[in-house]
């Protein structure tokens, strides 16, 4: 946490309300996100208990597994989920625009531009919390290797059609969520915590109810009071007023309400199976339906508050204007989505259980690159984020006090103007350090020449006395590029006296790292050349499996 963010938290404590740590919205929010609020059964490896899912905040689909230990009921749940999620994804897969992509021509080995399809927009999944995002990964893993009866007639417990496909999509969403700055799958707590600092710790911010309580406390209440109520308040029956955002449920709910309801359901089912004639069966079917309805009501009562909280969070974040470079990052999400759409259409096997060395290295490099890109872009988009970078000496802002024209030495002299900037910031500038500013969205680079006083005195140390610092330092920079080809710099490409400028010490655009060798050239130390792609076997099934 930077000192500025810490200060914001302390301010939140003293004002009783969350404080902004961003002035613009740094994540894309789709016009039509799919909100997914799942619940899981305690102690089971991801056996879903139910979920609210949908794109309409007033009419969520309620899916319930009345007995999570029953495989058929779980499959029915996943099948219903697929029937909601996959059509939603399909609407985005169909709408495409033409785009170009660089590819290596297999014959000549040259980089050529290829015309490809790019989906015009991408779907977006919103989960309440980080634990929910993990649950999406878990669901994806549990489904993508399943076999349907069509794929493998011999399989002992065939999955309903489309369930393995849902698994592959959820896996893709889950993997994409690990890429910094991506917005295909978002946890509401993360999005809110990115834009507001509360008066509690980051650990407590994981509680969606408490986080919202700090950001938008009810009238006449402080954030601290409202958050405490969201965390701990219980009704007369000992149930939390604000149920956990899931997927885990509150133990008191499990023990006091859910377990007896399961028991009634099981009893009704046994009774129905033992019915001897049609009339009796009809009667008992009624009991079973009633028991099932009760469990549905319980699940809805625990998911609906979270569902509403997620939409309230969306409202709050939407009030912030979108940051300038969010669109560019969203385009990367669209590429990622289009890529997976194409892999599914091409009949490629599901994502492997473990990545091979080359894929893993590529993924890691991509995440590091995206992290650096995200940090740079957020700072450029948002003066409050930039303030943090200025505090840490990675950027400086100030007024131009003088511009002296100068030229490079060489056959064709190019402009290399010297710009003097007065700043109160204390950038960590080394000798001839490169600095960058954003000029019409493109980075212009300059070189640090020295501090003005030091230049005047011809001081070799290049240091500035304490007095000089207090009054603000005068930095001399030599502008290096983006001034056109002529002898005179293009209009507006060089700052003028009186301009306010902001330079960063970090680069604005990220270059890819060194290329990995071709797959055939991969050394054995790194897994060797990939063999024939083998489709992985489904998980072995046992009678007592939970998923």
């Amino acid at each position: 946490m930077s000192l500025i963010a810490t200060l914001a938290r302390l301010e939140a404590v003293s004002t009783g309300r969350a404080q902004p740590i961003a002035t613009v919205r740094h994540r894309r929010l789709s016009e039509r996100p799919l909100v997914f609020v799942p619940l899981t059964t305690a102690g089971e490896a991801g056996a879903p208990l139910g979920a609210l899912v949908g794109t309409d905040r007033d009419a969520p689909h309620l899916l319930v597994v009345p007995q999570p230990r029953d495989r058929d009921l779980r499959f029915a749940f996943l099948s219903e989920l697929a029937d909601i999620v996959l059509p939603y994804i399909d609407t985005y897969a169909e709408d495409v625009e033409a785009a170009e992509r660089n590819e290596t021509d297999p014959e000549t080995g040259k980089r050529v531009k290829v015309e490809v399809e790019l989906c015009a927009d991408a779907p977006q999944l919103i989960l309440p919390s980080r634990a929910g995002v993990d649950f999406v990964r878990l669901l994806g893993r549990s489904m993508r290797f399943r076999r349907t009866a069509e794929q493998d007639p011999e399989t002992p417990y065939p999955a309903p059609p489309r369930v393995p496909l849902l698994g592959r999509w959820l896996t893709h969403f889950g993997e994409r969520a690990r890429v910094p700055g991506s917005s295909l799958l978002l946890a509401m707590t993360d999005v809110l915590a990115r834009h507001w600092a509360t008066g509690q710790s980051t650990l407590e911010d994981q509680h969606l109810g408490a986080l919202l309580a700090w950001i938008a406390p009810p009238q006449g209440e402080t954030g601290a009071e409202a958050a405490l109520r969201a965390e701990l308040a219980r009704d007369a029956q000992g149930q939390l007023l604000c149920p956990p955002a899931g997927p885990a449920t509150d133990p008191a709910f499990d023990n006091k309400l859910l377990a007896p309801a399961f028991e009634r359901y099981d009893r009704a089912r046994t009774a129905l199976a033992a019915a001897e004639d049609g009339l009796e069966a009809d009667d008992r079917l009624g009991d079973l339906t009633a028991a099932e309805r009760e469990i549905r009501a319980l699940v809805e009562s625990r998911t609906r508050p979270t569902w509403d909280a997620v939409w309230r969070g969306l409202d709050l974040v939407r009030e912030l204007p979108e940051a300038g470079r969010v669109e560019e990052r969203w385009t990367r999400d669209r590429w990622s989505f289009t890529g997976h759409r194409d892999r599914v259409a091409a009949g490629e096997p599901p994502q492997p259980r473990r990545d091979d060395a080359v894929t893993a290295a590529n993924k890691l490099a991509a995440r590091e690159r995206e992290q650096a890109r995200l940090e740079a872009q957020e700072a450029l988009d948002d003066p409050l984020v930039m303030a943090g970078r200025r505090l840490s000496g990675e950027a400086f802002a100030g007024e131009v006090t003088e511009v002296v024209m100068a030229y490079s030495e060489g056959k064709r002299p190019s402009p290399r103007p010297l710009v003097t900037v007065r700043t109160d910031d204390r950038p960590h500038l080394g000798e001839r350090a490169k600095v960058f500013r954003s000029l019409g969205g493109k980075p212009q680079s300059a070189e640090f020449v020295g501090y003005e006083e030091a230049l005047d005195k011809g001081d070799e140390d290049g240091g500035v006395g304490e007095d000089g610092r207090d009054a603000g330092a005068l930095l001399v920079l030599r502008v290096l590029d983006k001034m056109g080809r002529g002898k005179e710099p293009e209009e507006g490409s060089v700052p003028e006296k009186g301009d306010l400028v902001c330079f960063t010490l970090f680069e604005h655009e990220q270059r890819g790292g060194a290329k990995l060798p071709d797959p055939e050239e991969t050394p054995w130390t790194h897994g060797g050349p990939p063999g024939e792609q083998v489709s992985e076997a489904a998980d072995p099934l046992t009678e007592e499996d939970v998923l």
Partner: protein, 402 residues
Amino acid sequence: MPLPRTRGTALRHRLAELRGPDVAAKALDARALAALAANPGCKRRAILDGAGVNKAALASALGSPSAFGQSQFALTRGNAFEAKVKADGGAELLRLVHEKLDRGAEPPAHARVPELAAIGPEGRTARTALALREAGEARGEWTLLDHPMLALDVAGSPAFLEPDAVVVHPDGSWTVVEIKSFPMLDGSADPAKVGAAARQAAVYVLALEQIAARLASDSAPAPRVRHRVLLVCPKDFSNLPTAAAVDVRKQRAVTARQLARLTRIEDIADTLPDGICFSPDLPAADLTAAVESVPATYAPECLSACELAFHCRARSRASGAVTSLGRSVRAELGDLTTVEDVLSAARGETGDPDDPAVAALRRAAHLRAEALGREAQALGRKVPAAGQPADALGLEAVAPCR
């Protein structure tokens, strides 16, 4: 050496007083001992645990009940899984121990599974020690101890610990087995849960090492307690067991150091005023005063480890301590420990401008105010509406980033 004994007795007596008359001591279990390592500086926790106070009951009596509980579904599943792992004389469990930890040994075709039942924890501890001695004499054979009872001396009183299982290898060495019901998915499990299991296992290793040291004689060296424990979990989405060896040397060292420090309970007890008692039957006001007489070191991590955390959090917040926002917050703030100190230093009202922490704070406050178009002096005073669009926050005052 009569002195230590007297001192030990005196301490036990004193701790019983703290617990309150007619209140049975809550036995320290491995989970509680392991949690101590998470916040070693907390005297409140140390004395309450050392005295065997039931912290959950105490928290409820204080009006800040703990939120710990276990779902019966998780409990059922955990028990069913453990039973499955140990079924058939522990054949599957021993196969996993052999495969993951001791491939050089004879495969366990059959194993001795001694009966460990006895009356009371002391009886069971003695029975376990006897079984371990006998297992050591039966060289070349595998022995499985199902739910043995181990005693560990904690601050002068024994804590009784019950590991899921201990396996004696044919070479006479001992292995702790932890059976957990969280899944190992494609060979990896939730790191937080594995960490907790490792800390717990480390406590068992320490307890076994004490027993091993007692078994040592001139003719035979003390049996080796292996520092790699076996963690058994369900594989993927099934309930078939799979296992991994977990190295607990680090956790063992931390816990050992922590337990050695725990003996300072005596010192803590000495500093308490007379008549202090933590009995949950006392009125809340008295209890609050009693609890306040021992300093706590609250940090948000306590919320997941200590029953008293909500009480300590409320006190920490009421006193304006910055650590209630996280331990890392302290690092940047130097000597400033309360929210108001920090804010007034940031506003420039108090604090020494030559103090680097104060100077950094003022710069941070200035930069933040500039970016938000506010006055740094107004820091933490006015209540601006959250969720306002950025232009309402006065962004025109911001230096354009050109």
